[in-house]
Symmetry: C3
Subunit: 315 residues, 3 copies
């Protein structure tokens, strides 16, 4: 598998900001070779048999947890789920101590979701076992970006030179940050589109262009990645109202009508129909939302497989 490519040597996957273009491509190529497994009658390979993956989730996220759990099981790994609600974090144990304990159980990989930026990095530094970042604060969500990029590449045949719009709450989105890192490293042109309040300061330094006008942003776009608006987290009331947001930034059939005919519409889910995009668009011919979910398994299988290999090499 990918024998002429540079080999993977990292024990962890913390973010796309750390990776070279070659490393990102290696993950994508490995995912490509794994995708077929999920279409078999017996959807399992023994690649990680006798290994243990711990899903350590400090934020609830059924989607991501399930996706990693399915990926691990397709590789024949054992999976242990640890959710914050019932865990000893209530009792005041530090994240590093929790990580050391999981390492002492001779687990092989920790998949960690945490509300603090840098949590995965901190764990990785304290541990010899592999750490995969499943989302840390507003920092990165690398496997989501990898599955977005995988899907885009599968559809378009390449990433380099593509015009990709990311629309929504850029300021609080780890998905946006990871996508920007990955896409720009692979040579895409990225536009972030949102009302000014949802654009973080100095985002241009990541190599993107800013737009506040969705029609203008979509004009030459090959793909639009529509972020979830987390209205339930808007405790400060800083967000635009839902209907106002839809009116100004929602992806509709009319707006797509003015864009390239084969523009690709992505969404990391879960989808707020009628807020981020219309149902017509979500279920339409340009939408690849469910293919993203399918590709998420292949990408996460690749990541689990590679970090397990990387750890062997780093010993």
């Amino acid at each position: 598998m990918a024998t002429n490519k540079p080999k993977w040597i990292r024990k962890d996957l913390l973010g796309l900001g750390d990776l070279s273009r070659e490393e990102i491509e290696l993950i994508l190529d490995t995912a490509y070779s794994f995708k077929e497994i999920s279409t078999r009658q017996i959807k399992k390979v023994p690649a990680l048999r006798g290994k243990m993956v711990v899903n350590l989730f400090y934020e609830p996220s059924t989607r991501t947890r399930v996706s990693f759990e399915v990926a691990a099981k397709r590789l024949s790994a054992d999976v242990i789920n640890v959710a914050v609600e019932t865990s000893s974090v209530k009792k005041g144990e530090t994240l590093a101590d929790t990580g050391r304990n999981i390492q002492a159980l001779k687990a092989d990989i920790i998949v960690v979701r945490h509300n603090c930026s840098g949590a995965a990095l901190m764990l990785a530094r304290h541990l010899d076992i592999s750490v995969v970042n499943a989302g840390d604060g507003w920092h990165e969500h690398p496997t989501q970006a990898l599955l977005d990029i995988f899907t885009l590449k599968e559809k378009m045949g390449k990433i380099s030179g593509l015009n990709v719009v990311i629309v929504g709450d850029i300021a609080h989105s780890r998905v946006a940050r990871s996508n920007i890192w990955g896409l720009t490293k692979l040579g895409a042109n990225v536009v972030v589109c949102a009302p000014p309040v949802l654009i973080p300061a100095a985002i241009e330094q990541m190599g993107v262009r800013i737009s506040h006008n969705i029609e203008e942003a979509l004009e030459n776009a090959d793909a639009v990645n529509v972020l979830r608006m987390q209205f339930e987290r808007d405790e400060l009331g800083a967000f635009p109202k839902q209907m106002e947001y839809f009116r100004n930034f929602g992806i509709t059939k009319e707006r797509l009508g003015k864009a390239k005919r084969d523009i690709i519409v992505m969404h990391p889910g879960p989808l707020n129909r009628g807020i981020e995009m219309s149902s017509e668009v979500a279920d339409g011919a340009n939408s690849v939302i469910l293919e993203q979910v399918t590709n998420g398994i292949a990408v996460r299988m690749a990541v689990l497989f590679l970090v397990a290999q990387g750890r062997e090499k780093s010993r």
Copy 2:
């Protein structure tokens, strides 16, 4: 296994109201052949190896979830548990979208428990993968009825011609409805027995007789299926008081003394001792309550196995 029987061609199991007598008998026969597996030293067969079953539970139900999980694991399937508390439903995703996402993970079977009648049907219509109804609102709970009927048939050798009393909150019971469909299709005579407030309108049209007197109802009964009184759900205060209910409808040794000597006492659990029946009865010689639990594994193994086969054929 059941080679001369009509073959199963459905991808889903939504309710006994949909099934023919032959289909119900095919499930029972298949369950019969699976029952022995749970008595082996190594309680596993590879029938569903490499398949994935997702338990999607919008209501908490340890009993039913665990029974399906055990059944799936005895068939060597991988199992993913998704509970509403930690799931993205809080975030406003529709049931259909959640189902489509699970399908996109290349899961094979969704076992769904939902508080809305018709939820399983709705999912099944939107999806190509199999859906098994593990209880939807007040509508149906087909695997519970199938295990009740399996247990009854195992004890009595037949269902046709038996007199079966269902006692308790008929109005809000999916267990009652599924039992009535199944028992009447197999030729049993069904009496529902409860205070008038707990008898739904027009229930006679399902082919049952109504009684408000438990002694009278038990007189010629071959079996009594005692429903759980869900006092914890009685927000309107419409139910009789617990002691009043026991006095008027509770199954006691005295009441059984006036019935047939070998009358079978069933209960879907969890049991409120001293409310629905006395402990003497629950633990007595007529009770088959724990055999029902054991048979639940065999019945659910059969259902998972058949819908997986049915899906193959429907492709």
Copy 3:
């Protein structure tokens, strides 16, 4: 494995108070032979393949649940997790009925954590299948004590004649009680050290010495087992303040400086750094806290394996 030793004949592990010295040593020897499995590339043996372990937890305890789950999976057992939050206990089912239901599912072993002393014993008496006590009220937590003793023996080569101090809330600690039973049966000299309010009446009758002075207690100690102070459970406000506790009983580098140079420091976790001991001590050369976690897997594998064997013999 341990072929010249007396064979294990119990179907349950309820507490160390019940066991003979020989039985405790048999568990330790079996654990010793299992420890190596967790260091393999493929960390699994088929010893309990096709068996089912149910983790029945009425108190949240991620650490203990995960440790048993990992142990069971290393033995190739299937594991079902049942937590009180989503379980039918809310609905009023008795513990015995829940146990009988799990037995009726043809599970092989119930690992039970319960807030009532005697819960495991009660279950074991009602059931033919194996019951392992994962902590019952203030009574016993035998596998924790076994892993403490295993770790101590591994470090010191023996238990007999060792001076072991247990410091902390002795009054409300099942870990202390199980350690006292195990250590005294194997010939260690045990000192319990705490402020008077945290020493239970008549504890001397268990064969221990009482100290209220940590420096004095540590003087000749070969090991100190530092209990977790469960301040979050101190609803009566009876405990000393946290800083006062640390000042008077906390294990610090200074206090260890006056003890034997190779004194072993243990803690069952989760650790309150700066309350029960300083971080310097927790992470220092005398600490075996993480080795305890590792050994917990081996000990629990041994216990699951032995009770499964014991049940076969008791049939």
